[in-house]
């Protein structure tokens, strides 16, 4: 039996079982996953891992009450026992009139989502590829202490169904390569840096290509450039945030737009819908239907149909992320529980070209800890990066902290580059902000 049919059969059994045990409605997600991982440390294979998983998540709506149960033992007897216990437990809860299945007009009813590579890669090929990747730098620089190269792939099938007729299926694959290099720095310090590639096909990470993989060389070059860092004077600086870490600054905005934060009044974007919250340079689009990108999807975890939305347009907040539950509670129409594939509309140039016009600023290439208060928007993040002087990226900086308020920060956005990474589900280019507070010396 095909995996898709097997998962549908599991869903059907669980849905029927839920009704038989006393639920009036139910939704079931069945997932099957196979994954492989390999890692190379310096010049030898360090780990080989293989995983085969399955899981069943059942949402129960019993006498106006709601609960979930899940298991990785999806045999009929196991499902029956799980449902017996869960239905009995749910009956003891307080009613919740805001829990519903996705209404028919919002339900996804299209074709299965297929975002997968048809073949597989031989273990010997993976080993050779990964070893070659590490070997491209190992022993090539006296400062290099270690190189760790990691390969992973997975194939995941999902079937989502409910008792109102929802039937969604997806099959996805993802291949990834990550490389980290550590080098000898000042004293006992061993700075490190990394590079990453990902895609739905092995070719996306360089397997089968004649050109050698450059990830290890990039990771080594970045690690070497971080040697002997220092702090600079506390003060306000213009800052460029590199494409691969810029999503860190977007995450608190997205969190504050989520139904759970808004409904619990724990959001600095409460009452901001339709209002300007950021600089006109910020336009953010959720486009779930760009094939081949991570985050590509037709439906969310409830079966809500995804759609392209302009989340923020020229600084104006256009939408919240509302599941059916929080939408009902807030008496607003549902949108989607969370963003799928976010694109921050870019301008021109890379971080380096943006830096070219900066006289005295900071180029942030990594965040080290920190957090944001979702109620107020106040944030504080450790950073690492480089000092920018007269248009040139100069020496590395570390042990500094960037502090402010999210609304103030995004109103200080001057420009965005055009260098968003397509291997990420939030494709955010390098960003230029003006006059941001940094604590250092």
């Amino acid at each position: 039996m095909k995996q898709k049919d097997l998962l549908q059969q599991m869903c059907d059994y669980a849905l029927q079982g839920a009704l038989r045990k006393g639920a009036q409605h139910a939704r079931v997600a069945a997932i099957s996953n196979t994954a492989n991982e390999l890692s190379v440390l310096n010049d030898s294979i360090e780990t080989i891992q293989k995983a085969v998983d399955s899981s069943l998540m059942i949402h129960l709506f019993v006498d106006g009450r709601y609960g979930t149960c899940s298991t990785n033992k999806a045999d009929p007897a196991g499902i029956d026992k799980l449902l017996d216990d869960a239905v009995a437990s749910v009956r003891l809860l307080a009613p919740d009139p805001f829990r519903i299945l996705v209404p028919g007009e919002l339900r996804y009813e299209g074709d299965p989502l297929y975002s997968a590579h048809r073949g597989s890669v031989d273990t010997g090929v993976k080993k050779a590829f990964l070893s070659g990747c590490a070997a491209s730098v190992w022993g090539k620089d006296p400062a290099l202490i270690s190189v760790t190269a990691g390969y992973s792939d997975y194939r995941r099938w999902l079937h989502l169904a409910d008792t109102d007729g929802l039937n969604c299926t997806s099959e996805e694959t993802w291949y990834s390569l990550s490389v980290e290099c550590a080098v000898r720095g000042r004293g006992d310090a061993r700075p490190s840096d990394w590079d990453y590639l990902g895609g739905i096909k092995p070719e996306n990470i360089g397997i089968g290509k004649e050109t050698p993989c450059t990830c290890a060389a990039t990771a080594l070059e970045r690690a070497l450039s971080k040697r002997n860092p220092g702090k600079i004077a506390s003060g306000r600086y213009p800052v460029i945030v590199e494409n691969r870490v810029a999503a860190t600054l977007l995450a608190p905005l997205i969190e504050a737009m989520s139904g759970s934060s808004l409904q619990q009044q724990n959001s600095f974007l409460l009452d901001k819908l339709g209002k300007s919250i950021a600089s006109p340079a910020l336009t953010l689009i959720d486009n779930p239907h760009r094939k081949g990108s991570p985050g590509y999807r037709f439906f969310d975890n409830e079966g809500l149909r995804t759609a392209k939305r302009t989340v923020i347009e020229s600084g104006r907040l256009n939408t919240f992320f509302l599941s059916t539950y929080y939408a009902l509670k807030m008496q607003m129409p549902p949108t989607i529980s969370s963003p799928s594939l976010l694109f921050l509309k870019g301008g021109k140039g890379s971080a380096a070209t943006i830096a070219g016009s900066m006289k005295n600023g900071i180029f942030v290439t990594g965040f080290n800890g920190g957090n944001c208060n979702t109620a107020t928007g106040d944030f504080s993040y450790g950073i690492e990066g480089y000092k920018v002087e007269n248009g040139q990226i100069t020496y590395p900086v570390n042990e500094m902290v960037m502090t402010g308020n999210m609304l103030d920060l995004w109103n200080r956005l001057l420009a965005a580059g055009d260098d968003a990474l397509t291997t990420m589900s939030w494709q955010i280019p390098s960003l230029l902000f003006d006059n941001i507070e940094f604590a250092g010396l």
Partner: protein, 466 residues
């Protein structure tokens, strides 16, 4: 996973199969976990979840290299397939070692369960959440929202390895988390509090509810008068308890021996050397009764124990799993831990704390002319090789002329591990363990805890306004 379907004989055969291509060591990790939670939101306990899962993880170690596979099936053919997959790490064509005859370890009981969680229904748990909600709302008119979650889990694990060790453990975990939103004069503030122990249903007491209600009210109220501090380098007094996050981030991870084995930790070459002032002792402890990080046995069959990482200022032990212990020719320290059967074990912390010193907290504060006092935290991070660590401060005070003055909030503090250790210039005599829901995220999630007496660090970089 039905553990009873694995006999000593079956397990011996699986270990034998796992070592068929060579390899120095193999182990089997059987797990069956049941998890429950109930949630109170908007005044009602109206969501519950139950999760159960089980499986078998099989590992083969050859030198420093590891093959790992797991199966969720209890069918012999699936388990054998997992063993064959793990065996591929060994490059040889023939067996080089034989599993030893199996003998069962007797283990201590550091988390005796008085009331098993499976005997509790939501109906018995719900009144505690309603009581917590009522206490918080009745304590302060500014309270707008309360969310509380009670979670419990019980994991049965069983380990067999090729050294002949067999052991079994039942590990409970109970956690209660609460968050509160208050509003006053257009200002909104939110805070959270939690408690977590390896306990059964005896975890739930009126005293726990009263303590947590008081704490969350205090924490949220505090924020109305607090502001982000001015940033820069300054002395920091870290309050007893949750300040143990300093140890976890600044040195704990860098002492995990997989990093030292790979030579990527800033402390890789410092064994036996002075890393902080005389008199300072730092411990990672798996033996505290009921503690969130405690273990009767780690996840590779090494008994839980207390490890002195720093003794009187000298680095005396890394935290080892079996692979690193063998590499360093040291004894394993019982730190081989994993999130579940889906993961291979790694060196991980348990409860990490510093021993008491001779000072008082009052004296440490009084010695600072201008600095910061910090007492609640949310998260931290470290760069193992560079040594830079951070922790996020939810609340504290300015210290001005030896006195606590302006309340502060929401600042990230950053330092460098070896430098920060060397800058601990005072240690008080009030060590406390923080029993919140600390979870470490090194590749996998692991329950930990931390503690500390109040300490004075002579200089750290404080994030803030400039």
């Amino acid at each position: 996973m039905d553990l009873t379907t694995a006999t000593d004989m079956d397990s011996y055969k699986l270990l034998n199969l796992a070592l068929r291509k060579g390899g120095d060591y193999a182990d089997l990790y059987f797990e069956q976990t049941t998890f429950h939670s109930i949630v109170l939101r908007d005044g009602e306990v109206n969501a519950a979840s139950t999760h159960n899962e089980g499986g078998l993880g099989i590992r083969v170690v050859s030198g420093q290299n590891t093959g790992y596979a797991y199966t969720e099936s209890s069918l012999p053919r699936d388990r054998e397939e997992a063993a064959r997959t793990a065996s591929h790490i060994a490059q040889g064509l023939i067996r080089t070692s034989q599993p030893a005859a199996i003998a069962t370890l007797n283990l201590p009981d550091r988390y005796r369960i008085v009331k098993p969680w499976e005997e509790f229904s939501p109906q018995e748990k719900m009144p505690f959440l309603y009581d917590l909600n009522d206490r918080i709302f009745s304590a302060d008119k500014r309270v707008k929202k309360v969310t509380a979650q009670l979670s419990d889990s019980t994991s049965q694990i069983e380990i067999y390895n090729s050294l002949g060790i067999h052991c079994a453990d039942i590990r409970p975990m109970a956690s209660l988390s609460v968050s509160c939103v208050m509003e006053s004069g257009g200002q909104r503030e939110s805070a959270s509090s939690s408690r977590s122990f390896r306990m059964g249903g005896e975890f739930l007491t009126p005293g726990l509810i009263e303590e947590l209600a008081r704490e969350i009210i205090d924490r949220t109220s505090f924020l109305f008068g607090a502001k982000q501090p001015n940033g820069g380098e300054m002395p920091v007094v870290m309050a007893a308890g949750g300040s143990g996050i300093l140890l976890h981030e600044a040195i704990g991870h860098a002492f995990e021996a997989d990093f030292a084995r790979k030579k990527v930790s800033i402390f890789s070459d410092m064994m036996g050397k002075r890393v902080c002032s005389p008199g300072i002792t730092v411990i990672d402890d798996g033996t505290i009764a009921g503690n969130r990080g405690s273990l009767n046995v780690d996840d590779e069959g090494v008994p839980g124990q207390k490890t002195y990482m720093v003794t009187d200022g000298i680095l005396t032990s890394f935290l080892h799993d079996r692979i690193s212990a063998r590499y360093f020719q040291a004894e394993p320290t019982g730190n081989g831990r994993r999130e579940s059967f889906r993961y291979m074990p790694l060196p991980r912390m348990r409860a990490t704390y510093m021993d008491n010193g001779p000072d008082t907290e009052e004296a440490l504060i009084a010695s600072v002319k201008k600095g910061l006092y910090v007492d609640t935290f949310s998260n931290g991070q470290v760069q193992i090789g560079a040594g830079d660590f951070t922790f996020y401060v939810k609340s504290g005070y300015l210290i001005e002329n030896g006195k606590l003055t302006q309340p502060i909030k929401d600042t990230n503090i950053i330092g460098n591990g070896p430098e920060a250790l060397a800058r601990i210039t005072g240690v008080a005599n009030n060590c406390a363990i923080d029993n919140g829901t600390w979870t470490c995220g090194k590749e996998q999630s692991c329950a930990v805890s931390c503690g500390m007496p109040s300490v004075l660090v002579s200089s750290l970089t404080v994030g803030g306004r400039v």
